[in-house]
Amino acid sequence: MDPVASPTLNRFWGRGALPAAILLVTLFIALTLMSDAVQNSEELSRLFLPLLLLVLSGLLALAVMVAVSALRLLRRYRRQAAGSRLTGRMVLLFALVSLLPVGVVYYFSLIFLLRGIDSWFDVEIGQAMQDALTLNQASLDLNQRTLMKYTERLLASIEDRSSTALALSLGGLRRQAGAIELTVFGPSGQVYGTANEDPTQLVPDYPQREVQQAVRVGNNYVGLENRGNHDELIIRVLVRDPAGRPVQMQAIFPTSERVGELSARLEDAYNRYTELAYLRQSLKLSFSLTLSLVLLFGLLAALVTAFHMASRLVAPIADLARGTRAVAAGDYEQQLPLPKRDDELAFLVASFNAMTRRIAAARDAAHRSQQAVEAQRAYLETVLGRLSSGVVTFDTERHLRTANPAACEILGLALDDDTMPTPEEIERQHPGLTPWAEAISHHIERDDDWRTEMTLFNGETRQVLMCRGSPLWQPGGEPRGHVVVFDDITTLITAQRDAAWGEVARRLAHEIKNPLTPIQLSTERIRHKLLGKLPEKEASIVDRATSTIVQQVQAMKQMVNDFSNYARSPEIQTEPLEIDKLVANVLDLYRSAGHGAILESRLEAGRARIKGDPLRLRQVVHNLVKNAQEALDGRSDGRILVTTQQIDLEDGAVVELAVADNGPGIHDDLLEDLFEPYITTKSKGTGLGLAIVKKIIEEHGGIIWAENTKPGARIQARLPTGPSSSDGSPPT
């Protein structure tokens, strides 16, 4: 038995599942790393792009797998392959079951994430930060303006612009003002003098060109600056001379350590806050992207798993569907592979296998039974076909179901395979079968066995049938129809009758013929001894009496001889002969005997020859002519017509010999039994003439019958022809 292949299962584990599992694990790791890269890992952040590309490639591969699986499923669905609908439904179910919660989790995660990030940046906190910064700036600004005025006054206090004077005065002024550095620039930005708290610093801290230009046009500058490696906060002031001299003074003041520290912390905090506030969009985007990728991974992984699980679950069911279809199509050799898991499906598959095994066994048994039935049927048909008895069956609707060849032959029926006539229809089509049809119609309704003998008249032939009928029963006792068996016992009856008459004749010959000779001899002795011795009167009596005795004994001897002839066993010596010549020879004898006046002949058989015994056939002609003569006894206008002719029938050519007379004809009562022994209407004769004729004709394979021609009667005999003279055989 070929097990049904399980392509889905093998295919999946063979070439799909392992790569898919590796891909899923790889993707999961990559997503985890990417999530770390987005969140907090400095090292992994450099791998963000490769990780992203890896994840996207993996997701693309997963999507392709899903698409290929879906397309394959669609193709199988359109092909209406076994299990495709169930697989589709299960994939849909799996997908829904997994995607719905994943989608819901994604939605709420995203909402929480985005709102969470937004909630970090409360408006009030932001405003508070801004206010703190502004407050700090305002506080510092007030101080700065004071310092600016102070610097202006310092510059106004300088009257001597010589370098030495400036150097001396600037040093004092710097110390007085508490500045880190004090510098005076000329109209072109050249340094007139500078004083720094660090005496080694000979080069002043130049202000930016833009600042100098702004001051030059009248906008004094004061501003906080970060300086040095420690981000030291200073206040730079650059003012022009309020007196209009083309000089500028730059003073750099330190801020207090506490103010500087606090300002730096505030600035850091503010900076951090604004940076975070600015980055929240990026943060949201990064988290959303990662979350979306995770969602996509979840979806695709769920779909891939759904296809895989559905295929695995449906594989045995698809096998079952295929197997069932095959069984429905008549293939009972299906054996499905058992699933490895010991579950209900395995039980189902095992049951299916057991079922197909049993069905196959039952089919084999049925096949064997059918073969046996066929053999029995063939045997019965052969037996029925060779049976000489006719067998017909009728169903419960009185339709003829079967008829063996003997039945058709006996009844002369020609039945098609499709025709199922009722007895009445058979009777209508074949009026000669009326007694048979009526007997069947009469008995077929009754539920008991029956037996009857009937005679069929079919034109010139007569058939005696012995019919036996019996109802047919089904095993459950239900009526199934009727069977009729019949035999054509015409020949049998004839043979029995012939045998009986033969026996009678033999006994007659034996019992009667023996005493006849002594009687005749004794009578002749009496006549011889007494005739001359008795007076004339008595002699006359003796003469008449003895003559009568001798005459009657002679007649009896003739009768006994006839019986003897009839009873004689047929030992015919056949030879080919032309019937016309034989008949002409016999008729010539009659004509030479003076009976030619009433005897006419019309011999038209030509050279047709039959195979027969010429002596016995002469007796036939002689008996028939003699029978006709006897029928015409006492008539002056009697005529006898002897004719021969060749007739072509369906089953071969025959020669017909007919002897007709214009006598009184045959009495209707005798017509049927005319050829039976001892049937005669004549005052003399043994009644064996026609019986002998019939016997000889039948010994030659022919038939004979008689009919009234009104006037007169005609006896016709048909003999099968032998080889004709045209075949080149020597004539008789």
């Binding site: 992203l52 930016q208 600056e225 503010y270 980055l279 990026s282 990064s286």
Partner: protein, 187 residues
Amino acid sequence: MSGSHRLLLCASAWLLLGASLVLQAAEFDIEEARTYLEGGTYRLDADIDLALSEQALEALDNGVPLTIEVRLRIRRDGAWVWEESLQADQWRYRIRYKPLSERYSIDRVSGGEIDSFVSRESALRALGTMRGLRLVDADRLATDEDYAVHLRVALDIDELPLPLRPIAYLRPAWKLESKWTQWPLRR
């Protein structure tokens, strides 16, 4: 829709996308670089146009420090690809906004003095104006060879705050860099 129409539409979409990328992508440009020998050491003056994209400027104004990386290689003229550079240096400068003083400060990542500027433009201009960068000692150069200075400047995305990096990796507006430019080492 016919196949040709679809093709046309597809091509148009790609063209639009490409154009938008080009428009978005601000480029750094090394306008000029000069070398000179001073005290046995070759030094470099370079003028670089640091055109930051809108996104980068917005980030800067929101307190995100930006790190500009200048890469330099000195290679023999006609050197094979696999030939090692005579000198390879990189300098990293960080520009950031100081909200309290409302100034922009620039400092070298490796350490050094902080310069602050009242405006963003002046700060970027100052950052792009590099003077006296030390290249290589003259005695390291072969006398019979000509050398070239290869210079490239780029925004270092890896120095951006972590949440900004994924976006910076993906968006062309953050891909701020010049091509490798080649300048002769004048003797």
